[in-house]
Amino acid sequence: MLSTVRIAAIFAAITAVAATSTAAFAQKKYDTGASDTEIKVGNIMPYSGPASAYGVIGKTEEAYFKMINDQGGINGRKVNFVSYDDAYSPPKAVEQVRKLVESDEVLVVFNPLGTPSNTAIQKYLNSKKIPQLFVATGATKWNDPKNFPWTIGWQPSYQSEAQIYAKWLMKEKPDAKIAILYQNDDFGKDYLKGTKDGFGAKASSSIIMEESYEVSEPSIDGHIVKIKAANPDVLLIYTTPKFGAQTIKKTAELGWKPLQIITNVSISVGSVMQPAGFDNAQGVLSAAYAKDGSDPQWASDPGMKKWNAFLDKYMPGVDKTDNGVVYGYGAAQTLAKVLEMCGDDLTRANVMKQAASLKDFAPDTMLPGVKINTSATDFAPIAQLQMQRFKGQKWELFGEIISGDIPSE
């Protein structure tokens, strides 16, 4: 009897202590990786290997958080950005992400790059309930909050961009004969699918040719000659930058003038349009969501001025025509915003909740009018694009901002 009373008393005491302690710390809640002084953010990037050109994104993000820390951090906490090389290899990605989670004990994994690497780590992170925030790939499958509540995308999906082109063509050139040149991988095939979905029942009659190339081919001139022989009047160029420049150049050399639409991935003025030749690139169409760092029309834009000042101070000598620098800045700014919204509740669940509660957020590098919106059922942060036409030495935006949201499968 005595012992029962004693147990009850101890139990009551514990409850009381627990109650007061939760009251005292209600303001501050932390999961592994966050503390009063630090927030640990993990990242993997292909610094080496076949996709090492994207490594600049990781370097930009690292520099961005250095700037944030120099300015006093986020809500008084410094961001500790830990970034590892996965060499664009899925097994390496799994190893590095596990190292981030189990050895470095990061709060979130942010902006891991590449569809294969992200697919490899998605199941692991979701089972451990660790946010896989703002993945750096345009595949459509990241917008799937029902099955993967801990994974969220960032950039517009390739399929939604392709649908925008298809819808624009159906409206402006309903009788066009269309040829598609695409890269034979997940990137190219996503565009192909989006285009066909966009055309719907008209796909088989409108698309007269689908030509694919391998990313390992040195030149794609042969494919262009083959496409010209079929005589289409619209050429959709779903390629990475190097091949985009080659395509525009080769069509001009052949004296062929189809209407050309090039993917958002390959719209850099400095690394695509200039090498292709400005004369050859006149009239090429595309869609964009971010400003181009090498485009003079943004020289006096307040957002891009901040971007320029950041680069001059934290990444001196970096190639400003590289789209990765614009990309990394925008993604890092989005994460900084989310962490700021979290306040003192730095639990993984709250980070995910805040990432899914962005309302009309516009990073410095976005086109005017493009805003980031997310919700519990919408895990596709950037869903807006605007059509643009290349004129002179820069892109001219036209039409209105189009929302290309497509539902998850």
Binding site: S89, P91, E102, T119, A120, D185
Partner: protein, 338 residues
Amino acid sequence: MSAAEEIVTEAPAVEAVPKRAMTLGYGTSLVVLAALILIPLFVKNFIIFQMTMLLIYALAVMALNILTGGSGQFSLGQSAFYAVGAYTSAILMEHAGMNYALTLPIAGIVCFGFGFLFGQPALRLSGVYLALATFALATAMPQLLKLGYFEHWTGGVQGLVVTKPDAPFGLPLSQDMWLYYFTLAVSIAIYVASVNLLRSRSGRAFMAIRDNEIAASAMGVDVALYKTLAFGVSAGITGVAGGLGAIAVQFVAPDGYTIQLAISLFLGMVVGGVGWLPGSIVGSAFIIFVPNIAEGISKGLSGAVFGVLLFLVIFLVPHGARQVAIVAQQLAAKLKKN
């Protein structure tokens, strides 16, 4: 000088290793085994995962070692066999719902067949030409896996996600730890079998071919058969390693099995010591951990730092871990004397 004489006087491509020097002594083996069994009990799951990968790559390196160190043939196409093994296991597990342990022998048999068949045309080639032919196989493999015909099975460019097995019989082990001990058991079985293979009649035939093909055939060794057999065995073991790799990583995709992997395995073999089977685990450690060290030194120049480290190893210990082991053995003997 006739052509035949020229071949005879030509130095063998791979230095002859006496077969007794191919293994470790009993005492050392037991110490290594005890370390491999005990370490996982004291470390984090992440380290266990890394050790699992260490064993898996060690198996793949050892398979190449049997081919090159045993029969004297080069291969830069091991990543292709690794990929076939990985996909065989993944497809059987995810599409046919088969138990993961049963998929491994099947992966091994499929790869043995594949390697044996590939060995047939490769018979006509030797030295660098064979290396180039296998190189072609390694470059072709990721593209073959992306082909539309197989997409229903392989998942195309998106790859396949594999479910990680739980420990059976309700054993109180985490998934990682169970998979580690499972991998360790498979590795030991294959290691023992390989050592016995090299000590057997077939092993002697491999080595005779490596040291001098003409002399081997004069002694009655069926050169063609044993050369293709070596390819088959090597491919089969690599396939089992690939299957284990798929289960450990829980994902297969064409981008995981590029020529980069084949070169890594080749590197592991050279660093571990060509023809010295226990060196495979050292070589495997080199290809897993040294890139991480290089990255720690400089992120932007990780490739260059890795190159420098590799250069140092090759320059200081050209025979790899075997050389280090011999030096250590001599030192130990000296200490005993004193």
